[in-house]
Symmetry: C2
Subunit: 410 residues, 2 copies
């Protein structure tokens, strides 16, 4: 029993550093998927162009393909005259009509735009001079055969799918989604859909943490609720770690003064708990553990603390497990504090704020500093401000960086 | 045949205004979904709390529940003494141990934190005075019965799911995903997986436009490729409009000078094409149409233009069809141009840039102004800068707002 708080808190940066150096990151499994199912997956290979793009010299405009040298000196008053042909090869005085995307015929090295010409039967008057290559997309100008079109570790956005398809590839190798087992603990918790009795409450953290995992592109596994019992937690941990690549728990980090989940984790295998108690607010009772090379993130049961703990520890962890080159930044905006707020020196404080526009600027209104148990503060807020350990608060009108987790309403 | 360009271009703002006033926005269909499938769906009802949250006065800390008035004057040197009980009701001199989240027993109105007490058998010494309500989360303090916990038109983020679950709701009514039929047109196009001949190229726009739809939360329907033939396009439009709530086409807006898709659209039904030719760059040949109250977005075949046209017209359109309260803003950052770039006066120019950090600031490097046919420019770029109609370019070192469509690499 550790009734009266943690002896020593680890700083957020040290906690992250210790955790990340203890986790053994294996190369994620890979899987081939069709391009039309690959949106937002993470590329597990360098996609190398097997062809030039464009595959041939192609017209960039609607017009007439010509030999540029023959247009020198052409003006509206002294047009150069070309002879229209439909062959795939034009002579020095020949020209061929081309639409955007058409192959440039042999013998031509430029295209005169339609509006700079006049057609009369087989004869085309050209009013302007063009330089070699003008209005031509050269073979390989977009991508050259052998070039890396998309790098391993890229999250595939619509434009990447388009480029890969243009190269003629139908499927890509992506990393398998990391499986994250999500467990809630607490005697007071009841699964949604049941009736509450006494001081019971509905379990909500699994739902929120699973949604956060899913949003990042990981696959959450529901491990249910464990009662406040080390053996029951131990058993759920054992199964979770067998099925999943990592585990996130909520609650039981400092229940009635006892560390149920950390104790159960330490029973499973070495090295077990690496950090317990982080110098942050909320989510101070967070613990970080590694068992059989797999990371376990032990979050407080408090819903707001669980979300902030996920943000700080699970987001970079899962990004790494996804195979991403780096953690994707959250949308960040600058805003001005509507009022000052006190924070705790020596802790990294995550202050929930509601950002809203006022005239030309964005304002950030602190949302109820009171009780991180208030889940509604997470929907009233749309972002948070990080107040570093060496500060005791934020001042009214202070310009702050807000990390958004929801839209700013107009 | 309209061989030499558009007679008249409509400004982007006018085009949006005309389009949006011609579309008849019906209230989207609604569907009930379980909370664990509701992530990123759009709420079709106001979620009203049927209970108070918390449901009862609850301890916000681990400690002892007391009557605050009895603690007046308590100090470490002159503690107030309470008698420990386990009843659901305490007397004036009684106290009951409570953990975070426990019901406050009757007769108590505050909780003294564990660290401010000393327990000896049945006797609890309290070293500090507390005020009524201290360390207590009051019934209804988080959400009061009858309050709107989440508003109709909200995109359900993880925190909304948590709050709704805390209220005991298992499912919510969300809007059905709008169905968007996506059609590509062009004789040169071949579906992925086939072999190319002559000047054929792989169709990529359907893939990209469908992914963009999916990312917003709409459901794309693949209408295949239509050849450059008004009757074939007409038939695909007819089927698409029957199956879907809106349609997006690419190509055939100005093919070899003829307006195949606009002509086919006008054959389907009134009012047909409302805008054709927009004062923007790229995507100038964009057309906007309404047929049987359903919107049709007719995009150029050029892959870059198709994406930008989607961004400008489909994003606000689909946001509205999703039932969202407002179009969700793109992630926007400020950056400094690495070099100047010329744009066309009288057009709204969408300049692709690659944003990257350099020291403390973000720089924006224009990505090949040349040829909007170069699909690789969309993966080299990670955002775009809008240059308004009354400007002729951006200057070197100019501070610009970049709308990101991919991550900024660190």
């Amino acid at each position: 029993m550790r009734l009266k708080g943690f002896q020593k808190l680890t700083s957020v940066d040290d906690a992250l550093q210790k955790f990340f150096s203890a986790v053994v990151f294996r190369k994620p499994r890979t899987v081939a998927v069709q391009l039309d199912s690959a949106l937002n997956r993470v590329l597990a290979e360098n996609v190398v162009a097997e062809v030039d793009l464009p595959r041939f010299n192609r017209s960039a405009v609607d017009g007439y393909a010509v030999s540029a040298s023959r247009t020198v000196g052409a003006t509206q008053f002294k047009p150069k005259v070309f002879r229209l042909t439909d062959n795939s090869r034009i002579g020095a005085e020949g020209t061929k009509q081309v639409w955007t995307g058409n192959v440039i015929p042999e013998g031509a090295d430029a295209v005169v735009m339609l509006e700079d010409t006049k057609l009369a039967k087989e004869r085309v008057d050209v009013w302007t001079q063009v330089t070699p290559g003008e209005n031509v997309s050269k073979k390989g100008e977009d991508i050259r055969r052998g070039d890396v079109a998309a790098e391993m570790g890229t999250r595939l956005r619509p434009q990447h799918l388009g480029l890969i398809a243009a190269l003629g590839m139908n499927s890509v190798k992506v990393y398998d989604k990391p499986r994250i087992a999500v467990l809630a603990t607490g005697n007071e918790l009841v699964e949604l859909g049941n009736r509450l009795q006494g001081s019971q409450i509905f379990e909500t953290n699994k739902l929120v943490l699973s949604a956060l995992c899913r949003d990042l592109g990981a696959e959450p596994l529901d491990m249910g609720i464990a009662r406040d019992d080390v053996d029951e937690i131990f058993e759920k941990l054992r199964v979770g770690l067998e099925k999943a690549d990592a585990m996130i728990t909520s609650g039981g980090t400092s229940v009635g003064g006892s560390d149920l989940v950390p104790d159960a984790v330490n029973k499973v295998a070495k090295p077990g708990v690496i950090v317990h108690g982080v110098a942050m607010r909320p989510a101070m009772p967070t613990a970080l553990a590694v068992v059989k090379d797999k990371p376990i993130l032990i979050l407080p049961g408090n819903p707001v603390a669980a979300m902030i703990g996920f943000e700080v520890f699970a987001r970079p962890l899962i990004s790494r497990m996804l195979g991403l080159k780096r953690t994707e930044p959250r949308l960040t905006v600058e805003a001005k504090m509507t009022r000052g707020i006190a924070t705790v020196l020596g802790r990294r404080n995550f202050v929930r704020v509601r950002v809203f526009p006022r005239g030309d600027e964005l304002l950030a209104e602190p949302v109820s500093a009171r009780g991180s148990g208030m889940i509604s503060t997470m929907t009233k807020a749309n972002g948070f401000v990080i107040v570093p350990e060496n500060r005791e608060g934020l001042e009214e009108k202070e310009q702050v960086l807000v990390q958004l987790f929801d839209n700013v309403e107009g």
